[in-house]
Symmetry: C2
Subunit: 225 residues, 2 copies
Amino acid sequence: MSDVKEIKVMSNLRTANEIQARDNRHTLEQVFVCNLLGSPGAGKTTLLERTLAELTARAKVGVIEGDIYTTKDADRIAHYGVPVVQINTGGGCHLDASMVAAVLPRFDLARLDMLVIENVGNLVCPADFDLGEDIKAVVLSITEGDDKPVKYPLIFRNSKAVVLNKLDLAGFTDVNVSKLEQDIRAINPEAEIFQVSCRTGDGVDRWCDWLLSNLKQTGTAPNIN
Amino acid sequence: MSDVKEIKVMSNLRTANEIQARDNRHTLEQVFVCNLLGSPGAGKTTLLERTLAELTARAKVGVIEGDIYTTKDADRIAHYGVPVVQINTGGGCHLDASMVAAVLPRFDLARLDMLVIENVGNLVCPADFDLGEDIKAVVLSITEGDDKPVKYPLIFRNSKAVVLNKLDLAGFTDVNVSKLEQDIRAINPEAEIFQVSCRTGDGVDRWCDWLLSNLKQTGTAPNIN
């Protein structure tokens, strides 16, 4: 088959995804939606656990867990007493807008302030697929090395927030955290950068405060009950 | 567009890749080819640097570096005085057999014992694309967490060797390395598992000896120049 055919089909797929993402955005217009991205093992689920422990008293949060096969992450999140729905892609390397649309009816959206969608662990493909979110946030473990923003720029360019995780290990590695921050700022000068350790909890409060500052001020999503 | 059309095109793409991979395997029949996989930041390039430092006196090694945009990894590898060719995928999340075929003429294959292809950092998509290699080997940093084999089983099932890297950080994390090994063995009982620290060099010798034991005994790939 020719390259042209491949490109054409990819283009159709993208268009279909964009249309569905727009519909999702409309459905979710009262809810602040964060698409959480990062490599396998960057610490997305642990960040989410820490975030829920801090936020559930202050906002109504729902979670969509994207994974290839297992429900391991959703099982962890369920302990926090929030509505959580698992999407298994069955081999697929990213979530798309239609997968999200299929599970939205499982949430009582009128009672949610915030929906966090934890994407499949992958620093490449998920950056390209709009799910209908308000923001993308990328989690990068500093143990992944300080060359990652330059090597995988798209996901850093498309993310409104970058969470640098596992700062507790910085002293045991050769990673230059200042260089990491500089490189992120060169790619995306507007990005909010958070330095955290999800293991110790350090820095997670600032990230949580920032998330809360993004909630939509509609008055239709009650924080009580 | 319908799901059916998408599946059909993917199937065509796979078939085209398989045909090209078979051709590559034929072209490379005198050369032991290792397709090196793993997440961003698992330590693939550092493992390769350690491997080259140990192997270049014992075998003729060539390297193909797969990256999305930069030549950073190829620049690092070039210091070891081995033939290295960079493939930039321009956004693509994995190498495919046609990309490899396009650069093979840049090597003097009759003078190579071994070709290492470092794939794009991604624990999902590269597992699905045969490049014409003899073996896949996956590098997993223990800082990625001990749940990764269960969550990303395909790449562990398809790899003949698993290199557990960053063992020097094990004591500073909550990772259970024994569980990690058990889970890998449950998915792939035949896998060779190596525990290494590419930072200190510990364990890399065993991995290098194993690589050498895979060289093809054709007598056509001289180790002397």
